[in-house]
Structure formats: structure tokens, C-alpha cells
Symmetry: C2
Amino acid sequence: MRKVAIVGVGHSKFGRRDDVNLAELAFESIKPAIEDAGVAPEDIPLFIVGNAGFCEETLPAVVIADYAELYNAELLRTEAACATSSAALSMAYTVVASGKFDLAMVTGCEKMTELDTPYVVELIGRAGYFFWEFQNFGLTFPGYYALHATAYMNKYGATEEHLAMVAVKNHKYASMNPYAQFRQEITVEQALQSPYIAWPLKLFDCCPISDGSATVIIAAEEKAKELTDTPIWIEAIEGCGGSANLTKRENFVGLRAARVAAERALKRAKLTPDQIDVANVHDCFTIAELMAMEDVGFCGRGEAYKLVEEGQTYIGGKIPINVDGGLKAKGHPIGATGTSMIYNLTKQLREEYGSSNQAPIKNGYALAHNVGGTGHYAYVTILSRK
Amino acid sequence: MRKVAIVGVGHSKFGRRDDVNLAELAFESIKPAIEDAGVAPEDIPLFIVGNAGFCEETLPAVVIADYAELYNAELLRTEAACATSSAALSMAYTVVASGKFDLAMVTGCEKMTELDTPYVVELIGRAGYFFWEFQNFGLTFPGYYALHATAYMNKYGATEEHLAMVAVKNHKYASMNPYAQFRQEITVEQALQSPYIAWPLKLFDCCPISDGSATVIIAAEEKAKELTDTPIWIEAIEGCGGSANLTKRENFVGLRAARVAAERALKRAKLTPDQIDVANVHDCFTIAELMAMEDVGFCGRGEAYKLVEEGQTYIGGKIPINVDGGLKAKGHPIGATGTSMIYNLTKQLREEYGSSNQAPIKNGYALAHNVGGTGHYAYVTILSRK
């Protein structure tokens, strides 16, 4: 396999974006990514759109490619629930690594707020185990993660305050991120006083429904070195599936698919979790950030909430996590979340954030953990600047 | 890039399949493919589901992977309209060619008949250029291909009889295919007497709405030789996008995306069209088969209908086309069509059809041409038995 690097990234404003259609929203991240990479649209031989289908358009990849005038590229759309654009990047990465093409572009894009909110909640709910859990028991996503939260709190002694601390950190960093949906800081007290959605998860434990896009352009080694002095190398992207059926799960305090994907990625990159300088993890709910930290191996089982209590997931701590605001406060436009994580980590490794949301880069490694469904899909990506 | 071969294929019965759910329908092709390849589900490290989203399930890949007990595989879904599972195979092929995995499985599956027919027609109609052509002018797919048919007939002198001849051939071969949706032969007179859908296209010029699945298992060279004595090699899979907007098209007598994809695939395989022994082309409407023959280069522009008149697309002719019945009569479960073509061509190159629908294999090459939308996507795959 050839070495592959990220040579361009772009990001749209996340939030409620009534001002743009799907193609315009995608182009908000495509244009800066193309400029960042210094390539022309007609030079891109492969274009993969990550979109989970939350829009009026039947063929989102086509309208986006049309708008961006990408008429020569091999074109397709991927879907892996909330890990949709990590799956897209995984495919693009291996195509470039294979030698078939020297360049590829991946755009994650989702426009969810044009649909009625109850319908979006229903669609997301269907993304669990449809037949038994959604149709027969009415389980929706806050309910799924509430099951995880109660199991975790019961087993390890974490409290609702610990969950609130995750939200406080992510809101703090979102306040510094011009692309974030929620840019106001919150306090633990505010989080604890927010209304319950599914006990013990409250409003401030849940990520919002969002519109947004993020684009990543990758190139094979030789091409990457032509295009940029700061290539960010993809050391590994590994995925694993998992049953949608809760009754088949080993336990509720972690996600097997994420654990396996992380083990595979770290093995392929020949790294241990303590060598990672900065990480994005899939914090669709605050409890998910705690489970992710343990699934990746940043700490042992039942220890994540203690690290959070100590402030070790802030910049300056042991492992800065979601310092772009995370899904929780930056927003979670489903198909764009994977590439949005990669956008942040690329900027971090390039040390392009001048402000206080730049994490210190020591070893030169970053990790993205992206989950789809309630653990039906997981993708873990490891980047390096060396 | 490593050499990659097809080592297992499976096919479900196409048609109206009220008797099975989506996962069961997929498993009808997964089970024989796994048996054909001689692998265990847990040995498959990558599973890509081609599904265009015509079903109640939000996450079709998950329910199919769950049913097939593929819990260790990296999992995703692709969509490229009617070329959905060719896009899936293109991705799986390059992943295996890259060296990342030695084995991968691709299942194309679609269950369209559970939705109301007018809604399916609307969904397909939206797959054109949604905003102008569908929403403002109400154009649906028979209308799109009727525009092609009138342009072609006007420019080259083809008649409705020529279109009917394509339907007659495809029904003849479907009658020999136990998996086909329509198993009765028809005559030119019957086709000509069928009601107009969108002039000059009549009922018997149009493919049906179908349920079905087809699965392909591929392996890297060394693994393929371990698994089978009859590997069918993938010489090339090439794709190209194209504008959805009719006003941007060069002309209406062919599809640029398909022409470019075919040129790329033939170039990569270092072949000319006359070296192909047998082909499947995307005959969603009879006119599409004529355009495909010219886009691939089996004949010059305006000559396809003459070959059809001479019977050259039957077994024994210059280039046998769609001798499994094609989309027209075998059926067209959107996401399954690409892998269904590969199923037929694999069987053809292995010479496993004992009966009269076995094409003579001289050079050992076969070609699949799969179009998405009205030419927004095209994938051309070339297989060999050498």
C-alpha cells in the first residue's frame, strides 16, 4: 500500500442552515479544501460523498458533484449511519493507497433541519434495531444512550455531574470554533438544571440536529509532497461492524465495534494510545465520550469519568478530546461528522490554530473515533505529521 | 495494485418478493456465494452493501450484516443510483487490490415493491435533475429515456420495431433464467401492441420494479488460487460521473459518463471492444441497450439497431448481450443490478450454464456496463478467466 496524506481540508458553518441548499452547503467546504490543496476540480479522479440520506434529494452525490463541476470523477455515495464520512474516507484512502488514483476528495454533508424534527428523531430511531427496538418498543437514540449511561453509572460510580463536565468542556471549545453550532459556554449547574430527555440524560447531554459539511482531499505520497509542505499522513483507518440488536451485546458500558476498530487501527499504525496527542471521539451524548475514551484505550475501564473530573481531557491535560466542540456543541450533521473530525485533527497536527484551542503536539499523532448507529459501525482513523 | 479475482457468486430470485424481508432477500444470494467461495462469514474482513434506499430500513447494511452474522467486517453501504452495486464492487476491488484485505464481499440488494408503485416512480423520478426536471417539469424515467429514443430514432432512422426486438431477445433469455422476474417469451407484435408509457416507449420497452439481491466475493491473487480453480479476474472497474442536468448534455443519443467509463476500463484492461465475448449492458429501457452498445464501442454511432436487426446480439452473434434477460426481463432491483450482471458474467466465463443461454467463450473476456440515474453515474467492469 502506498503512503497517503491529507493535502486539503475545508469546513462549513454547522447549525440550522436554511440559507443554503444541499449543494451550496457542500460547496462551503469543497471550495476551501480545493484551495487548501491547490488542485482543480477537473483533476480529481474520485469523489465520494458521505451522506446518510436526511434530505429531499434522492441522489445527493449527483447534485453536489454537479454544483462543484466534478464531471470527470468516479462518483459514489457512502452511508454508515453517523460514521458515514469516515467510511467514505476509508474507501478513498484505500483507492489512493492501491495505486489506482493519486488524488481523491471526500465530502461529508448532511442537511437535517429541513425535515420536521419529530421525523428526524424517528429516522434516527429507526437506525437502531428497527424491528424490535424501534417499532415494538419505541426506543429512540437518547433512550439507547440512557441505557448505556445507567449501566456505566451503576457499574463504575460516575454521576450526572461527570456527564455535565463533558458538556461544559465541549461547549467551552465550541465557543472558540467559528464553525460550531453552539458558541456559548455553559456551567455544570446549567447542564444539571436542563430538562431530562431520557433519564439520566438531559438536554445538555445531547448533541443537536445540524446541517453542515466538511471536505478532505487526499493524495498519494509523491503527489502529496508536490502539493504541500505540511502533509498529514493517514497511518490507519480501520472499521468494524456490530450487531444492532441490544440483546446480542456483551455489555452496555462500551461498544465492541469501536473497541475492535481502535485495536485494529493502533496495531496497523504501530502505536499505543498514550502516543496520541489529541483526539476527536464520537460524543453524540456525553456518556458516549466516556465510553469512547475507554474503548480507544486512553484509560482503563471505569476510569474515564475520573480523567474528566481531573480536567485531563482539556488542552494541557493528558489527552485533549473534542477541542473543536465535539458533536455535542459543534453539531452533528450525520454525514459530515467523520470528515469534520479529520478537519480538526489536520489543523491540530499542522498547528494552524493560533488561539487557545490548539492542543500541544508532541509525538505528532492524532486519533478520530467515529461511531454509527448504536455501535453498528465504528471507524477509527490515526493521523500523523511525520 | 494486486490482482483480484471473483471467487464466489450468488443470486436471489428477482421479482415481487413479499415472502421475504430485506435481510432474508440478501441472504438468498449471500449463502450460495459463501458456499461457492468456500469461506466462512467470520473470515470476511470487508462487507459492502449496495442499496439505493428503496425500503423501510434506514440502515440496510446493518440488518443484512446482522442476519448474515458478519460481526467482524468493516461495514458500509454505497449508493450510486442504479449503478449502486458496481460502485460497491469498485470500492471492494481497490481495497483488496491495495493489500489492505485479502477478501471482501459485496451484496447488492433492493426491495422496491413493498413501497407503493406511484411512490417508487416518484423516487426514481427524483433521481433525475430534481429541482428543474422533476419538480418543475414532472419528468420521470420513462420520459427521460423517451427523449433519448426520439433523438436516436430521428438521427439514425431506428424504428419502434428495433426497440421491440431488444425486448424480444431479453425476454427469450429471461425465460431460460430461473432467477428472472419475467419468464415468458414475447413476440415483436406483442411488444408493439403494448400500451404507450412515454412515446415511443411502450410497456414492453420498460424494465419492471423488482426485489432481488446478488452477491460477489472477491479475493487477492494468492488467496483466490487457494480458494478456487476457476478464478474470474477483475481486469478493470472504471467509473465516471455526469451532469444530471439535461441542458448540459452534449447530445441525447448516448451517455457521456458511460462512454468515458468504457474507454477508461478498456484502456486499463488493454483491450478493444471486439475482444469481449459476452456483455451485460444497462437496458433499463430498450433504447438504453442500443445506446450502451455504441457507448461501449461494440459498434459505431447509429449502428446498434442494425446489429439488433441482424440478430448479432443473440448467442452465436457478434456480441451476445444480456443473455440473462437484462434489466428488461430479469428485473431491476436497483441496488442489485450491478452485482447481478457480475453474477451472470462470472457464470458465463466459467462456462457453467449448460443450457442454451451459455455464450461461446473464445477470448475469455466479459464486460458489464451499469448506469446510474440518467447518466449521472456509469461503471464499466471487465472480467477475464485468464
